[in-house]
Symmetry: C2
Subunit: 235 residues, 2 copies
Amino acid sequence: MAGRPAVPQVIWARPERTGRGPRPAFNRADIAAAAVRLADEGGLDAVSMRHVAAELGCGTMSLYNYVPRKEDLHELMVDAVGGEHELWEPSGDWRADLRRVAHQTRELMRRHPWLPRLMSPVYGFSPNALRFLEHCLACMDPLDAPYGTKLQLLALLNGCVTTYVANELATAERTRALPWSEEQENQVRIAYLGGQIASGAYPRMAAAFTEDAGPIDLEAVFAWMLDRVLDSFAP
Amino acid sequence: MAGRPAVPQVIWARPERTGRGPRPAFNRADIAAAAVRLADEGGLDAVSMRHVAAELGCGTMSLYNYVPRKEDLHELMVDAVGGEHELWEPSGDWRADLRRVAHQTRELMRRHPWLPRLMSPVYGFSPNALRFLEHCLACMDPLDAPYGTKLQLLALLNGCVTTYVANELATAERTRALPWSEEQENQVRIAYLGGQIASGAYPRMAAAFTEDAGPIDLEAVFAWMLDRVLDSFAP
DNA sequence: AGCGCACTACGTACGCTGTACGTAACTAGG
DNA sequence: CCTAGTTACGTACAGCGTACGTAGTGCGCT
């Protein structure tokens, strides 16, 4: 009757196996793992339906039996690496626990530099995302606040971590595919920036860049950012 | 001699006109405006080299005379809308000024929902980005801190605003191209989520979603987030 | 037991993308 | 005036997501 589906599908609502027909050669975990492997090695651009299918050793269009749209493949990937989160028994110190969560998220994103780009509230509520959120809420049990507020803090915290790590990784991730080195690109950008700054039109920016700051300790900046956000929540 | 460029180019360092040859039919501002128009109307996916060229009324490959790579087109777009920032004489109250900056950024992103996706530190230091940063630093003049710290706060602030607005807009922006309505999609996601929550595996998430919270005031949440970040900086 | 249907597998094809390359027209600097 | 560098643009290629059709397979029902 209806040619195309008039109603959207959430991949997590679609059963993996319905019983009829030949035994499937793969499952979602296999597919997600293959896609993650490709993305880790070759960046997000290496994740095409053709490549993933080849990695699995099957025809391109066979993939569509498991994953109706590429977007769903991305959801699978995010969920798969979400499973790498270590969940522990909350210590009772919610600040310490949330700090630990944030550091773990950061490590996760450093292992999978493509993750920030796929992170979006739309891809929320996958099984592992639910487990993760439940864990975060459990860590915040000592805190007396409505769940709505707690979720807001979590969103803010995750947002900040994501943004921070994305900034940290953007250059590296981008550089992968370029025909020149990161150093070269930085050199060119710095040269241009230097010219602009020397023009005198941006005195404060000039001061910021010539200021004797010493080497930036990314670790410390991250910790600072984290504490600022957490501090702000508990006056 | 050299076929392809072995050295990267920053589009802002490349002069717009070198004097020799026929008079160019467009300039960067025209091109950026056309691309922004297309993105505003049809989402970021509508911005292809072919479409932009058609919008300008020229052949596809002619665009490459002005914009060497699509990535540079994106930089032009970000810079162009960055010029919409209203810059004022700092009031002396840096908190108020930064709040105003944040609200303006938010409005900017609501006018141009594709902006968060293109925001990245890599696309930094375009002319208008420099003007914007300089202005933010000027707003922070009353604050006694090294410029490095101020830039960190700015990065954090902008990151939070970006993340927040991205979350706010992700669904809408994504929905545009889909064959079903946002309501339908939400309905399906909620239905699935309801099933998961009813399973009892995520008691706190269940409580969060059944909690009587009333309608969410996005405006208030944004203001709250902003104050948390700003508060945290000035103890 | 065996029919039928839902499922898997996959080749082909379409329209789209970014962009490398070659050619023709044009104009400012020497 | 000449010529070198630029603009303009058509053609072409490799790659993408995916719609569609066909063939084979095995579970569930009668």
